[in-house]
């Protein structure tokens, strides 16, 4: 069930009420049942794959621990670890990347005018598979490295892998954080009024971002991108900016609702977004966007490859590997590979040009400690990120390149001066609602940027009339202006194919 659905609005309170009433010992099993119910509401068959991943990593961890206890040597441990990783990645590759691999294979053989495989394979793509696979792999690697205790309680471990708030689109949790908390689930004080309240405020804020902003701007983005060959360059730029907003609000809303829901049950998940569009550089951007994934890649891939400690060339290669794989993680298409590669290239180039840049800054006597310098860096970073989004949104490479050509060769800036922007899919009223909501989002993000404080704690610090006013405001905005009901489907969360 989607977070922005009536089903979830019934599901969550029921799970919560039972959770608060049952004896402590039953908490983990109840959440596990709820999580599987939540997952299977998409498709009961999905349960099979997540159980396989759960069992594989659970047993591998126990075997690895046995190896340590019985001092059976490193070789055995390594074999178990590698086999487990390969098994899980294989499942991921088969169910997610089969058709992509077929495309690549055909791409090669087509050079010789041979199409080796005629038909695409019709295969189930379970929602959230990229997320929980990485979460489980993180665990087994942590156990191998002795960073975390192996979990003998199967219920608790299975809950760690499938915990419903973050199961389908993150944040990707580390065993050090979430698993340890689940271990102590009987001892958490869940009857914490402030925590539960803050959880609900976060959920509301997430629903606002998703239903009022993301799903609304998506109408414009879809309208232009789906008809890209009839759209002028300026329209495509506007639509791409719209997509930058859409994917941010969509994905951030999901994480926010996840964090809010988890908090109701007494769990603090890791922050996944930290005002990413205020980043000063691409490197900074990846410390603020999908933090759980980029830190996962850093800890489990970049650093094992040597990170930045292996000389410049190797470092650049490591960066490219990590980001190309990160792109691939997001989607099974060449466009995602290019998207990831672009971000890697951005950072490599920025690093390589560092000295030259500093030279120019000095020569021109540019003041680097003022607001205007920060502003230009933010705008430049945002431009680079937005350009890369073209590849993320386009259906395939041809489309992406066509769009870029049209942006350069067919600009139509006059639509900014006549009322052309109201003809892109959102009329005057809808645009006004969107712009007003963006304004609210900007304020909230500026508060976060300046005070390093999330909206829930900021609101709860205020006087009651303001706190209640803000919550009522969010509820009314969602109730009146949320994209739901007749004329549109509740938009599929973008990250659900992962």
């Amino acid at each position: 069930m989607q977070f922005n659905s009536i089903n979830f609005m019934i599901f969550l309170p029921i799970v919560m009420i039972v959770y608060f009433l049952i004896p402590r010992k039953l908490r983990s099993i109840w959440l596990l049942i709820a999580s599987y119910f939540f997952y299977m509401s998409w498709n009961p068959k999905y349960a099979m794959l997540i159980i396989i991943s759960t069992l594989a990593t659970y047993w591998s961890a126990i075997f690895i621990r046995k190896c340590d206890e019985l001092s059976l040597g490193d070789k055995k441990k390594k074999i178990i670890l590698i086999s487990c990783i390969i098994l899980n990645l294989l499942i991921l590759v088969i169910f997610k990347y089969t058709n992509f691999l077929i495309d690549i294979l055909n791409g090669f053989t087509n050079i010789f005018h041979i199409t080796l495989i005629e038909r695409k394979v019709d295969i189930l793509l379970p929602v959230g598979i990229s997320f929980y696979t990485f979460q489980a792999l993180g665990y087994i690697i942590d156990v191998y490295k002795k960073n975390v205790r192996c979990e003998k309680n199967f219920i608790k471990y299975a809950l760690f892998v499938s915990f419903f708030p973050q199961l389908v689109a993150g944040p990707i949790e580390r065993s050090k954080n979430l698993l340890n908390k689940i271990r102590d689930i009987e001892f958490i004080n869940i009857y914490n009024y402030e925590k539960v309240k803050s959880g609900f405020i976060l959920i509301l804020w997430g629903l606002f971002m998703k239903m009022v902003i993301a799903d609304r701007v998506a109408i414009l983005v879809d309208n232009i991108y789906n008809n890209f060959n009839m759209s002028g360059g300026t329209e495509l730029i506007i639509a791409t900016l719209g997509f930058a907003l859409q994917i941010y609000c969509d994905f951030n809303s999901y994480s926010t609702i996840a964090i809010g829901s988890a908090r109701i049950f007494g769990f603090d998940l890791m922050e996944n977004f930290n005002t990413p569009y205020f980043a000063l550089s691409i490197r900074d951007f990846w410390r603020r966007w999908h933090i759980s994934l980029s830190s996962w890649f850093k800890d489990y891939l970049y650093i094992p490859l040597g990170g930045s400690k292996v000389g410049i060339i190797r470092k650049y290669i490591n960066i490219m590997i990590v980001f190309i794989l990160s792109g691939l993680w997001h989607g099974a298409d060449m466009t995602f590979v290019i998207w990831g590669g672009l971000h890697g290239a951005y950072q490599v180039v920025a690093d390589a040009l560092k000295e030259k840049r500093e030279y120019v800054i000095n020569k021109l006597k540019i003041n680097t400690s003022c607001f205007s310098w920060k502003l230009i860096r933010i705008m430049l970073t945002f431009t680079l990120v937005t350009f890369a989004w073209i590849f993320f949104r386009a259906e395939n490479m041809d489309e992406a390149t066509s769009i870029i050509f049209r942006i350069i060769l067919k600009p139509n800036p006059w639509i900014l001066f006549n009322d052309g922007i109201y003809g892109l899919g959102l009329d005057n009223i809808e645009m006004n609602i969107l712009l007003f909501s963006i304004f609210i989002l900007l304020i909230v993000d500026i508060i976060k940027y300046k005070k390093h404080e999330n909206i829930d704690s900021f609101i709860m610090r205020q006087n009651m009339y303001f706190e209640w006013g803000f919550i009522i405001f969010l509820i009314l905005m969602i109730f009146i202006y949320g994209e739901y009901g007749l004329n549109f489907d509740p938009k599929q969360f973008i990250y659900f194919q992962f």
Partner: protein, 488 residues
């Protein structure tokens, strides 16, 4: 500790109450209030219990052809037109069931247009208008289940899904909930149609055979007849005359008549007896499906006479419990009078029709026209204008001048009832040469709700506003260049 918990519980409860009330209020604003099915039922709930003696059910054919005002005036009958747009028979069944929870009519009139349909479900508009007007009840749930395909049930049970995007279309009616406004206060469901289109009488006699009804239709048709019988309420089935009929449809009507006979229920096919009713399809039709104001007067008279002859319906005139029917009848009469004014081509007749204390006439004499011009001298006299050789704006009621600005005076008057009326005589810059032509230095504006209604730049304008119906009836412009020929 206990205190804090108490405080928190109170906070939570108060908060939930605030949210619930706020959302209900917002929902009330967003909910469509279409009179054809939704508001007709809302208003029905407001009627005093057990006051309706004749209940008319059905589609737009029902509520556009039975004139509640005439039934009251000529027969003292307290009736209500409880209809919905294109209402399928199954919805009519539930409207009846719901109605009987609140009223004990002495006679049910079922208008049978819905019997001719051949669909499993109505389209989106039809489903919406004929279901969401219900108060929450078992009947509402059953009604939805039978009117709406299963994959749409969620939308209709959680109504907000259907209409919350109406924020783009909100209007005065949405915020005022139709109170103290126009005809709604004393409304009895009658929706008059003033258009006129020429049609021909459909030759319905040539269809001799019965044609099977749609199964769903027949099931609920019989259910309606049985329900009336069970409750011991006499019922008659009528068909209002209209012209858009083919053989299949008339066949179904014939079958409906046959079925009615099984239950000893009278069946009046308006088209078959159109001559007796006196219907002239060239003047009495608003469109291919509906009678207009002339048609429904004739048809209502026929039905009224029929009721008088065959049923004992109490005469309610003079009963203070029924005062809203009296007001409703007066309102309808007024609307019909306004229509007469609109259709008249004779200015003297028009002025006569508006000679009472509730018609406001805003008369302006503009440009180079003058009260002494021979073509309009008499009109000015009848209107009650006393000034000679004058231009200006007169606000006249029942031949008495209430407000006047003319000659060399700049004056502005604001008259606000439901609509905002501004009478503004102000100086404008005209070239010297034109003074000799007798042109006015001044411009007269009769502005109603931001629209300038006095259209003739040189001539006599009469803008008619009715205070009873709170509507602009029309504006007449007699242009001097056209020799004050009548035009609208």
């Amino acid at each position: 500790m206990k205190n804090i918990i108490k405080k928190r519980i109170i906070k939570i409860v108060v908060f939930i109450l605030i949210i619930f009330n706020l959302l209900s209020y917002v929902n009330k604003i967003l909910k469509p209030k279409y009179p054809d099915g939704i508001y007709s039922l809302n208003k029905f709930y407001e009627q005093k219990k057990n006051t309706i003696d004749v209940l008319v059910l059905g589609s737009s054919h029902a509520f556009e052809s039975i004139n509640t005002g005439m039934l009251w005036d000529e027969y003292g009958i307290a009736s209500y037109d409880l209809g919905g747009a294109m209402q399928p028979i199954w919805n009519t069944y539930y409207y009846l069931k719901e109605a009987l929870k609140y009223q004990k009519p002495k006679l049910i009139i079922l208008e049978g247009f819905g019997l001719s349909f051949n669909l499993e479900y109505g389209d989106e508009q039809v489903m919406l208008k004929n279901t969401i007007g219900f108060k929450n009840s078992k009947e509402k749930n059953e009604n939805i289940k039978i009117s709406v395909p299963e994959n749409r049930w969620e939308d209709y049970f959680i109504e907000n899904l259907l209409y919350h995007t109406r924020y783009k279309e909100l209007d005065r009616d949405d915020f005022y909930f139709n109170k103290n406004y126009r005809y709604y206060d004393n409304w009895k469901g009658f929706g008059y149609n003033f258009k006129t289109e020429k049609f021909e009488r459909p030759p319905v006699e040539i269809v001799k055979d019965d044609k099977e009804l749609n199964k769903k239709n027949e099931k609920y048709y019989r259910a309606i007849l049985r329900l009336a019988k069970d409750k011991n309420i006499p019922i008659i089935v009528i068909l209002a005359p209209y012209s858009y009929i083919d053989e299949d449809i008339q066949g179904r009507y014939n079958k409906s008549s046959t079925i009615a006979k099984e239950y000893d229920v009278p069946f009046i096919d308006g088209n078959k007896i159109s001559k007796n009713i006196g219907i002239d399809y060239a003047t009495d039709m608003a469109d291919a499906l509906h009678l207009n104001h002339r048609g429904n007067e004739k048809f209502t008279k026929y039905i009224g006479d029929y009721i008088k002859e065959n049923y004992n319906i109490p005469y309610r005139k003079g009963d203070t419990d029924y005062i809203s029917w009296e007001r409703n009848a007066r309102y309808i009469e007024r609307e019909f009078n306004n229509q007469k004014i609109r259709e008249s081509e004779d200015i003297n007749e028009i002025i006569n029709l508006t000679k009472d204390d509730y018609y406001d006439l805003y008369v302006s004499i503009d440009g180079n026209a003058n009260t002494d011009d021979k073509e309009i001298k008499n009109i000015c006299k009848i209107l009650g204008i006393k000034e000679n050789n004058a231009k200006g704006i007169w606000y006249i009621r029942n031949a008495k001048t209430i407000w006047y600005s003319g000659k060399n005076a700049s004056k502005k008057g604001y008259f606000n009832i439901v609509d905002d009326i501004t009478l503004d005589r102000h100086k404008i810059d005209r070239g010297k040469a034109e003074i000799e032509d007798g042109y006015d230095y001044y411009e007269n504006d009769v502005i109603i709700n931001k629209n300038k209604e006095n259209k003739a730049k040189n001539g006599l304008n009469i803008v008619i506003y009715d205070n009873i119906t709170e509507t602009l009836v029309g504006s007449i412009a007699l242009d001097k260049a056209e020799k004050y020929d009548f035009s609208r």
